[in-house]
Structure formats: structure tokens, C-alpha cells
């Protein structure tokens, strides 16, 4: 409720025209994009963005940098293969798809809660270390366990259902599915940031000791945040296994874990749109860096690009955009707006609604 009134006075109908434009573009995208761009670029960016969103929620709003979010998403992906059907002949309990999806997401959320229970008593660099240790341990565990996780090979042949006459792995339906889920969690995080729980979480980030002196159980608040982050990451994990059609230890490997961190940081942790910007940049680079330079060197291009972003804009692409925006607006708009745009605090919270 805070600040909405102010925004609505600035734009007709209370909607920022840039947001309207972005929404129209995202909905119309498959109409003019090729299957490759719809599926490999569009849908994949949305999935990675959603996983990174769960990290942004924990880190940006809660001050907890968890490197195990990819592990949580990967666990949901594995549960889909183990409880549902796969073509490998290991596990594959054949549960109906809807039950598998629900249990996979809940299982991921419980794992996230468990990770939170271990990590929530630590702060800063120690949270990073503990969650990294859990991520690495999970990677080696699934790689070496053949009875349940089918070890190095993993699982293949995991398919989304055919529903309403649509096969949901076809590029256009899958893109819309990913878009709907990403949009849902994006809006949920944006709304939730100003809910009682969200305000409490940001208070925990700003000053855990004082939060205790308000009668709030900091430990419980953090664990509940991990649970919600697990729901987000787990749902994205279900999409990821449908996207790939397979799941193997590589998906929860250290490089993927780091990729999610890179996406969140490069995109900007100040607002829930950040991880999606980061994911688009990441997926585009991953696919096209190879055209700029020979096959062996394309990781160098990716690395350099991200180094440049972080060097020139510590708050990521989001901060870069805000700086450009304020430069354009400053000559025309009132000084107050300029001050607001330049305030440059790192926190996602502020008095105005932020995308």
C-alpha cells in the first residue's frame, strides 16, 4: 500500500508505460520469434531467472546469500524423474504427473527449509560457505548413488503431460507455461516484499538484533523465507527437467551453482526484475559468444562481459538502467526525482514500488 498513490499520479491508469510495453512484448514474443528463440532463449531465460529470483529473495531481501538454490531446483528435477516416469529403467515410480509435480515442489521446499535450518544461524560469508558445502555434497551424492539417483548417467525421458490437446514441451506452450510461472513468482515477490512477512525479512537483513527486540523470532523468520524460496526454486526445477527432458549430476554441479549467483548479481538484487535481466543476458551470451570467438574461448567472453558489468555497475544491469534513466530524466524532472534515483542504496526496499 505504501507509495502506490504516488506512482499512480505519475502515470495514466497507474501503470508505467514501460511495464505495459514489456508485458505486451513478452506475450507477443512467440508470434514473431523462431522456435529456437522461443524455447532455447525465451523459456530457458525465464527458468533460470526464476531460480535466480529465489536467490534474490533470500539475499536481496533477507541478506542470506544461499548458493544451494540450484541444488533445491535440481532436487525437484530429480524427484520428477524418480517419482514420475523416465526411460532409464531405474526408479520411475510412475506416479501421476500432477502428484509428482506437487510432491517434487514440496520436497524441494522441505530441502530448502532444511538447508535454511542449518544455515540460518550463520551470517555473511559463513552462510555462503555452508550452502556451498551442501551444494557440493549433494552433487557428489547424486553422482555416486546409483540405487536412487542413477549416478553419473542420471535420468532421461522425462516429459511434461499432454493436456488440453497441447503437448507442453512444444516451444510455444512451454514458453507460455514458463512465462506464467515466472510472472506469478515475480509478482508474488514484489507484492510480498511489502507484506508483514516481507517487511520483517528486510528488517532481519538490516538488523537482526533489533528484530529480536521487537518480539520476532529471527531464526524462524529466516527458515520460513528459505521455505518460500524453495517453492520458487522447486517449481523452476520442474520446468527445468521438462525443458531438458533429462536430469544428471551436471545440473547441480558447482558451475551451475555459480551461474545462478552470477545471474542474480549481474542482474541486480535490488528488485525482483533483476534476476530475469541477468538470465536473459546470461543465456544470450552463452548461446552467441561462440559466434564472436572460437569455441575454446567463449567462456572468456562471458566472464569478461560480467566482469565489465560488475565493475561499472556494482548493482548490476538494474543499476545501470536506473543510472541511464535518471540521466535522461534529470534535466526535465524535478530535483526530488533525481535525488531519489541517485540515492544508490543497495537495499531493494524503499518508499516507492520498485520493479
Amino acid at each position: 500500500m505504501f507509495g502506490i498513490e504516488r506512482n499512480s499520479s505519475r502515470y495514466p491508469l497507474g501503470i508505467n508505460p514501460a511495464v505495459l510495453l514489456a508485458a505486451v512484448f513478452l506475450i507477443a514474443y512467440p508470434l514473431f520469434a523462431s522456435d529456437f528463440f522461443t524455447f532455447q532463449i525465451g523459456a530457458y531465460s525465464l527458468i533460470l531467472g526464476t531460480i535466480a529470483l529465489s536467490l534474490t529473495m533470500l539475499a536481496g531481501y533477507g541478506g542470506m546469500v544461499s548458493l544451494a538454490q540450484m541444488t533445491v531446483a535440481g532436487f525437484a528435477a530429480y524427484l520428477m524423474a524418480i517419482l514420475g516416469t523416465n526411460s532409464v529403467g531405474v526408479m520411475g515410480l510412475g506416479w501421476p504427473w500432477w502428484l509428482t509435480v506437487v510432491i517434487a515442489i514440496l520436497g524441494a521446499a522441505l530441502l530448502s527449509t532444511f538447508i535454511g535450518a542449518i544455515a540460518a544461524r550463520t551470517e555473511g560469508i559463513y552462510t555462503i560457505m555452508i550452502t556451498l558445502a551442501i551444494a557440493v555434497a549433494f552433487f557428489y551424492f547424486v553422482r555416486q548413488n546409483y540405487q536412487i539417483f542413477n549416478g553419473f548417467t542420471g535420468f532421461a525421458g522425462i516429459k511434461p503431460p499432454t493436456l488440453f490437446g497441447l503437448y507442453w514441451r512444444d516451444p510455444t506452450p512451454f514458453y507460455y507455461l514458463a512465462l506464467a510461472i515466472a510472472a506469478f513468482f515475480f509478482l508474488a515477490v514484489r507484492y510480498g516484499a511489502r507484506s508483514t512477512f516481507g517487511l520483517g525479512l528486510q528488517a532481519v537483513r538490516d538488523n537482526p538484533r533489533r528484530v529480536r527486540a521487537l518480539g520476532i523470532n529471527v531464526f524462524l523468520h529466516r527458515i520460513v523465507a528459505y521455505f518460500y524460496a524453495g517453492i520458487i526454486a522447486g517449481t523452476a526445477g520442474v520446468l527445468l527437467v521438462w525443458f531438458n527432458g533429462r536430469v544428471s549430476p551436471g545440473i547441480v554441479g558447482v558451475d551451475m551453482v555459480i551461474d545462478i549467483l552470477v545471474i542474480a548479481v549481474v542482474g541486480g538484487m535490488r528488485a525482483p526484475i533483476g534476476p530475469f535481466l541477468g538470465a536473459i543476458a546470461f543465456v544470450l551470451l552463452e548461446n552467441f559468444a561462440i559466434d564472436l570467438i572460437d569455441r575454446e574461448r567463449f567462456n572468456t567472453v562471458i566472464g569478461l562481459a560480467f566482469l565489465l558489468v560488475v565493475l561499472f555497475s556494482p548493482d548490476g544491469l538494474l543499476g545501470l538502467w536506473r543510472r541511464i534513466e535518471s540521466k535522461i530524466r534529470l534535466p526535465r524532472a524535478s530535483a526530488r526525482l533525481g535525488v531519489r534515483a541517485n540515492r544508490g542504496d543497495w537495499h531493494p526496499a524503499g518508499s516507492s514500488e520498485r520493479m
Binding site: 507484506s195 508483514t196 528486510q202 537483513r205 538488523n207 538484533r209 533489533r210 520476532i216 518508499s351
Partner: protein, 269 residues
């Protein structure tokens, strides 16, 4: 505590609920350093108490032991008759204890009203609600009232990071008054305030409802002796003297120690 079934002696009845706070030989050590030793202290419900003493006398350590920020190394703490020695901070707060901090500890990323709202919600139900607070939410209404009481109405939607020092002190007080406080610990609430802000603070302290007691650490004797009914003097981690403001002011040992050597004109510095 009495065994179930045992009759409560009639003479014990008036005692029930008499004390808001009872400290029983409470000590706090930091390694070899004894910050506070053998503190015995009782504060009646609704009593207004000032704690005086030089820097390092153990005043803030005393507060930390009461709230559980840094629990005592030994001794017992009772709040409203209940032994809270082993309870975490947030559980003590939910029982009606509040405190302010010497250095403002606020949520700099949130606005003024959001800070107060959280304080009101923190001690009530719905701490984990995923809904945004509505304007007619009980906690939000209380937050608006407190906002007005500490004269921050025009800073309602300002992020706390942008407040002046004095305004942050006022907000600290608002957070401590949230919910239904029964005993408030004020840690130098007047530090860094202008004379007019001090007068406002004294007004707020004096207009608290009679059932709300508080303990006040304050260097400004003018503020401390004006609002307190009783005074506890601390020195080197121990209680040195207790009494009414007049007794303390006229005590030769106190004058010697605290108000300066042989300074007859001392008193209200």
C-alpha cells in the same frame, strides 16, 4: 512456585504481580572481565526508575542481561513473576518488555511507518502474514498513533536512512512504546537531542499510562531526576546506592563519586 493443590498462604497474595522485574545476584562476565557482579534489584510494576553511573559502570550490560541480548553468566531474572533467565529475547519482548538502544538500531531500508508497524506486529499475531497491511489493520492504526505521538507525522514514508539523528532517537522511542508494553528499558534516549526535543521526550515519558513502568539510563540528570521515582546508582559493575532522587542527590558519597569532588553547587548538572 507452589505445588499443585497446595493452598497459597493468604499473606503471599498481595505479593503476586508486585514486581515487574526481580534480579537475583545477576552477574555478567566477558572472559576475565567482570562487567557486572551480584546485582540484586527489584522494580515494582509501574515504577519509574533511573539508573545512573559513569561510563563502564555496567548500565547497558544490565539492560542486556534483562532483555537477554547478552544473558547473564549467573543469577536469575524474573519478569512479572516469571523466571525468564533462559528465554530468548523475542519471548521476553512478547511478555511486555521493551527497550531502546543507546545507538539507534533501526531498519534503514524501511520507511518510518514500516518500522513502527513491524514493532506493533512483532508482539502481536500475524508476524508471518503474506498480505500487505491495510490502513484499517489494528497494528497499522496503532503505528499511526505512535507516529503522531513522537512527532514524526511528516516523515511517515521517509526511509529511515534519511532521518536526522534526533528523528531516529524519536523513532527508537516509538518502537519501544509499540504493542502493550509493561516495562520499558530506555538506554540514553536523550543523547544527542536538542533542548526542545528533550522537553518532548520528558513529556512522552511523563504521559505514559501509570501501569507502564520503565527503567531509564540517562546522563542528563535534569531528564533522569525529573521523571524517575527511584534511582539506582551503579559503579564498577555493582549497585552503589539506591533511593529517591532527593536522597541520591543529597548523598555525600554520591556527590563525591558522581557529581564531582566537593562541588556544593552540583546537583542538577
Amino acid at each position: 512456585m507452589n505445588e499443585p493443590g497446595t493452598a497459597v498462604p493468604r499473606s503471599a497474595l498481595p505479593q503476586a504481580g508486585q514486581f515487574a522485574l526481580e534480579l537475583n545476584s545477576v552477574s555478567r562476565h566477558f572472559g576475565a572481565l567482570v562487567a557486572m557482579a551480584d546485582i540484586d534489584m527489584t522494580v515494582h510494576a509501574g515504577e519509574r526508575r533511573a539508573v545512573l553511573g559513569s561510563n563502564g559502570a555496567g548500565k547497558t550490560t544490565l539492560f542486556n542481561a534483562i532483555t537477554g541480548d547478552y544473558p547473564p553468566t549467573s543469577g536469575r531474572v524474573r519478569l512479572f513473576g516469571e523466571d525468564v533467565t533462559y528465554l530468548p529475547v523475542h519471548e521476553r519482548i512478547r511478555r511486555g518488555l521493551r527497550r531502546t538502544y543507546q545507538i539507534s538500531l533501526l531498519f534503514s531500508g524501511l520507511t518510518v511507518i514500516e518500522n513502527i508497524f513491524l514493532a506493533c506486529r512483532g508482539v502481536g499475531r500475524g508476524r508471518h502474514s503474506l498480505l500487505r497491511p491495510r490502513r484499517d489493520d489494528g497494528a497499522m492504526e496503532m503505528a499511526e498513533t505512535l507516529l503522531h505521538a513522537v512527532h514524526l507525522d511528516d516523515r511517515r514514508d521517509t526511509p529511515v536512512a534519511e532521518l536526522s539523528h534526533g528523528q531516529q532517537r524519536q523513532l527508537e522511542v516509538a518502537l519501544a512504546l509499540s504493542g502493550a508494553p509493561r516495562l520499558i528499558l530506555f538506554d540514553e534516549p536523550a543523547a544527542g537531542l536538542s533542548p526542545s526535543e528533550r522537553a518532548d521526550l520528558v513529556d512522552i515519558l511523563q504521559s505514559l499510562p501509570p501501569h507502564v513502568g520503565f527503567i531509564l539510563i540517562e546522563h542528563d540528570m535534569d531528564v533522569a531526576l525529573r521523571v524517575a521515582e527511584r534511582v539506582t546508582m551503579m559503579h564498577n559493575g555493582r549497585i552503589f546506592k539506591q533511593g529517591t532522587p532527593d536522597e541520591i542527590e543529597s548523598d555525600p558519597e554520591v556527590q563525591e563519586l558522581y557529581l564531582g569532588h566537593g562541588d556544593n553547587g552540583g546537583g542538577r548538572a
